[in-house]
């Protein structure tokens, strides 16, 4: 079965909730379709909700950074929301950086920050 990750539009933001195992092809598809949607909708922000992701390793970090970079190239801002405390601690210990994306505690806060950015 062909699996895709839905992209939802809220005003001029695109919202992606990651509820599934991110593997190579799925991650590339997501990156592709996100860039296309940013182009078509003229979105100012992309929010990736990872609150359902229980483990983020260096590979997933790289995917998130890549998505962040490509969104930024399109002139939009990328926010990662909902990183779990244990996941954050683990990322710090591993010494991997999420430096190509912004982070916010919750979806609400990310939307707030994006709105401030536009006004």
């Amino acid at each position: 079965m062909e699996q895709t990750i839905p992209i939802i539009q809220i005003r001029n933001c695109l919202l992606v909730s990651i509820q599934t195992e991110l593997h190579d092809r799925l991650a590339l598809d997501l990156q592709d379709s996100l860039m296309e949607r940013v182009r078509v909708t003229d979105a100012k922000g992309v929010i990736l909700d990872v609150s359902a992701v229980e483990v983020i390793d260096s590979y997933i970090t790289r995917i998130l950074n890549d998505i962040g970079k490509s969104v930024r190239f399109m002139g939009a801002e990328c926010y990662i929301v909902g990183i779990r405390p244990a996941v954050a601690m683990t990322l710090i210990e591993m010494g991997v950086e999420l430096d190509s994306v912004n982070t916010a505690l919750s979806l609400d806060l990310a939307l707030e920050k994006l709105e401030l950015l536009q006004s």
Binding site: E54, V55, D57, R62, A86, M89, E93, M94, V96
Partner: protein, 239 residues
Amino acid sequence: MKTVESEIAAILAGTISAITQRSIFNRLGSLAALPVSQLTAADRLTVMNELENSVRLFARRNSGELIASCARALGAGAQATNGNSPAGGSVAAQAAAGAAAQAAAATKRFPIEQEKDIATARLEAWSESVRIGLSKFTSVKVATAVSELARNIVFYAGKGAIELRALRDDRGSGLQITAIDQGPGIDAKKLQEIWGGTYKSARGMGKGLVAVKKLVDEFNLDTAPGRGTTVTCVFRGER
């Protein structure tokens, strides 16, 4: 009549959902319907092993107390009909020791061949970590390390295996993770680049091993070109 199910259900009520309890009793099979007074020592051990695993996994807190209460309930029934059976407390101790010995001896092996095996190994490692009593944070680290190691196997070696072993030695309890493959191995020059942080693989990674080494308490890498790679690492419980 006091059956195993009625006694245990009374103890677990409010801490473990009815649906989860149902699955625990299903796994106990015919033992669940037996009157507590008819349990043999071997039955009791089987029931306690199963309960210990499930309670550790599903109870949000007080799993130790719950397990002890279950052991007492099962042991006390035997005492009422059989004067010379051991007291509840020591049955609990016996059952716990039996379960611990069994866990220590068992090595669980998970073959890794494709991307979906990574998720399986990760979940198994997580529940094993919780089962042997490592903290929630440590269990997330365990799952992350297994994820990195399993990914390395899929990406670089094609196939291999992850082995999990519960440790109980003079340094306390812990979980040993071994990642084995017969892939291309890593040569000395590449190793130097990996530890120096300058290595970038075709898939843009090369950070996995460094990340794992930073997460674990003990780390050993055995590799050579043509001989495959074995990574052994250990997570220790907090003391």
